[in-house]
């Protein structure tokens, strides 16, 4: 038996034993496990599942073991993901630390910082938020104004951030700050980490159109930050910021491909939903125009999934990593938005309920998810910004 086959069998057996049965059922949004100091576990199995996975480092399977990760290579990780998919396991941990900050720290942080910050991320003990956007600095992120002054033994941070997802629940923030106001805008930015319980940090939740409130205004009023919390060199934070954005984009883009390339499974699959709500005729979706739109959409999802796979295969074959993350971010998020438009089209008024027992729970959540999906092409850099990046950096079109 090959090493990989053995790994698969061991993984399968371990998951069989360590993934609680309730963690193999579809996950309601309010049972998403974000970890953190103040985590509340509506379903206690979520905590068990998190701890089991964290004990193997499998919440961050490809991070080095010395920082608490799983130490898996690409092939092993693929197997782990396949085995998790096979039993329909819920994600043990959803975490900005794992998706965004960790990869950036692995690349740019000092050895001490890695040892200090990474293991608690893997274990889901510290929940992070992202302090990038400001009222005056969205797409033009490098125009940010929140400043950190060198006070000798610490930095003093003043300013405000906006759209900070889950800032009100987060334990720590990774924050872009201006440390040299005189320098050209990309050259005066630094990458700072600090505790959200520091004196002077306040958050104010903002309500989204979907009715929930996952993001905040975040204010810094004379916040003292220890100097060792600076990542990388002073005024060189933009490089880190950009690298982190690539991880963020890849993560957001993943929402567009969906299992099996169909752009959503079960009650999120447009074809399944259309049959249920628009009816069937001879095994086909009864409304031919809707059927045609769904086929077009699903074919694009499959093509997109194949492109993600091709890029991975090319990387394995040694091709230099392309500027693929912008294409994936753009196409994947637009695709996810289209999926929800199709679901709404198929479900008619049943997808337009707000809060009523005449609607099924999944119907009410599709309404909310549809609204939430609209943010996909804004957060992490808008679609237009991605197109700019492709035009300039990939195609080399002139300024």
């Amino acid at each position: 038996m090959s090493d990989l086959e053995q790994f698969r069998q061991e993984t399968r057996a371990w998951l069989e034993e360590n993934c609680p049965p309730s963690m193999r059922t579809p996950m309601p949004e309010d049972e998403t496990c974000w970890g953190g100091r103040n985590a509340v576990y509506k379903n206690p199995d979520s905590k068990v599942w998190l701890d089991n996975m964290a004990s193997r480092g499998w919440t961050a399977p490809m991070w080095p073991k010395e920082y608490g990760g799983g130490g898996l290579n690409k092939d092993e990780n693929k197997i782990l993901q396949q085995e998790l998919g096979r039993i329909r396991a819920r994600p043990a941990l959803s975490s900005f630390g794992i998706w965004m900050l960790g990869p950036a720290l692995l690349e740019f942080a000092s050895e001490e910082q890695k040892k200090h910050y990474l293991p608690p991320i893997v274990r889901g003990e510290i929940r992070w938020c992202q302090g990038y956007s400001e009222p005056g600095a969205g797409s033009d992120l490098a125009g940010l104004q929140t400043k950190a002054e060198d006070m000798g033994d610490h930095y003093l941070v003043n300013g405000s951030k906006i759209w900070t997802s889950y800032a009100n629940f987060a334990d720590w923030i990774f924050c872009l700050v201006r440390t040299n106001p005189q320098a050209p805008k990309h050259e005066g930015i630094s990458f700072l980490l600090f505790d959200m319980t520091s004196p002077g940090v306040t958050t104010k939740p903002i309500q989204l159109i979907s009715g929930s409130s996952p993001f905040c205004e975040t204010f810094f009023d004379n916040v003292k930050v220890p100097k060792e919390n600076l990542v990388g060199e002073l005024n060189k934070g933009w490089t880190i910021a950009k690298a982190l954005l690539q991880h963020e984009r890849t993560m957001i883009a993943g929402m567009g491909s969906g299992p099996g390339g169909g752009g959503g499974s079960g009650l999120r699959s447009p074809s399944v939903v259309a049959k249920k709500y628009a009816g069937e005729a001879d095994g086909r979706i009864a409304d031919p125009a809707l059927r045609d739109s769904i086929a077009a959409h699903n074919m694009n999802s499959r093509a997109f999934g194949l492109t993600v796979q091709r890029t991975t295969d090319e990387a394995k074959a040694g091709a230099p990593p392309g500027p693929a993350s912008s294409m994936f971010k753009y196409y994947g998020t637009e695709q996810n938005k289209r999926k929800y438009e199709l679901l709404l089209q198929a479900m008619g008024t049943q997808a337009l309920g707000w809060e009523d027992s005449t609607f099924e729970e999944h119907e009410l959540s599709i309404t909310r998810e549809w609204l939430r999906s609209k943010a996909n092409s804004i957060e992490g850099g808008t679609s237009e910004v991605q197109l700019n990046i492709i035009a300039k950096r990939v195609l080399g079109l002139p300024e």
């Binding site: 169909g262 074809s271 399944v272 259309a274 049959k275 095994g283 086909r284 979706i285 059927r291 045609d292 769904i294 086929a295 077009a296 699903n298 074919m299 694009n300 499959r302 093509a303 997109f304 194949l306 492109t307 796979q309 091709r310 295969d313 090319e314 394995k316 074959a317 091709a319 294409m327 753009y330 196409y331 237009e384 991605q386 197109l387 700019n388 492709i390 035009a391 300039k392 990939v394 195609l395 080399g396 079109l397 002139p398 300024e399």
Partner: protein
Amino acid sequence: MALVLNEDQQQLKDAAHAFIQDKSPVSALRKLRDEKNPDGFDRALWQEMVELGWPGIIIPEEYGGSEFGYTGLGVVLQEMGRTLTASPIMSTVLIGASAYMLGASEVRKKAMLPEIAAGKKIVALALEEGPRHAPYNIATRGGPSVDGYRISGEKTFVLDGQVADELIVVARESGEPGDRDGLTLFLVDANAAGVKITPTRMADSRNAANITFNGASASGDKIIGEKKKGADVLDAILDRARIGLAAEMLGAIEVAFETTVEYLKTRQQFGRPIGSFQGLAHRAAEMFCEVELSKSVVLDALSAIDDNRDDIAQAASLAKARLNDTFHLISCEMLQMHGGIGMTDEADIGFYMKRARVAAATFGDSAFHRDRYATLEGY
């Protein structure tokens, strides 16, 4: 299989690239058009392709081929697509050899495949009877007679029909046009009595033919696939044709896109290169995404055939529909973004746009393939 070319395939692609760029630039197609070449391709060039072994790429070694697989043929077609090269590879190899490999008796394979591999025979598929691809919409009759079968009916848009030595004729033994059952694929000598071939000239400067069968004789054992169950093998043949054609279209798309991006960088208006205008730059970036997705579906579909996967049909419909749409988009944008120049015959742009339209109408337009894909996926 991984979605990357292996070393052998990459070498073949590089060699094909060098050959085509040297021997068959777009000006070669222009020349065929201007001199109203009756064959629709350059026989001397075809002979050189034969010497390179291209007709034998998919044919197993035991029948005189090099057994390089459909991915191998696909990269050659892609390179030919870059310059819109016309050749009988589509009709004779992609379709003809596939038909023999999929559905001929051992005796017939032994007789014909080496001939194809050696470039000695040209084979054409006589399928369509109307202006829109409809593979079961067959009224042409194949009925028994004293000495075998007699075929009567009218076929249109037979690619390379005007130069073929042998025709694969889709005829109906039973049922009505539209029925999947009752079709048989007869092998008919193109010079046989009762076969009347009328060449047609298409907008893309390639040739096809209308063919009338007036009691042409055929034999019950010179067939592809099973009698009255011909649709099974026909679908499999058509899927290979669609996938190969998609590979060819990919090559053309790549050139159309590269040329356009280059023009955006060089053409100056308002004192700036026009590629600096976001109204054009964003469209170019969107086209880039469509091209990348197109590359993936073509590679996947080619390897679906080589790996004998059970979703070849889905992969074929996915590839054909996507490449139709992308080629259409990019050839139209190529023209628009070139401004007045794009409208001139002197530029090659029109050739790409015309080819895009003809290729899209060949073996199923996008609506056809979306419908088919949905049916295959069970909705």
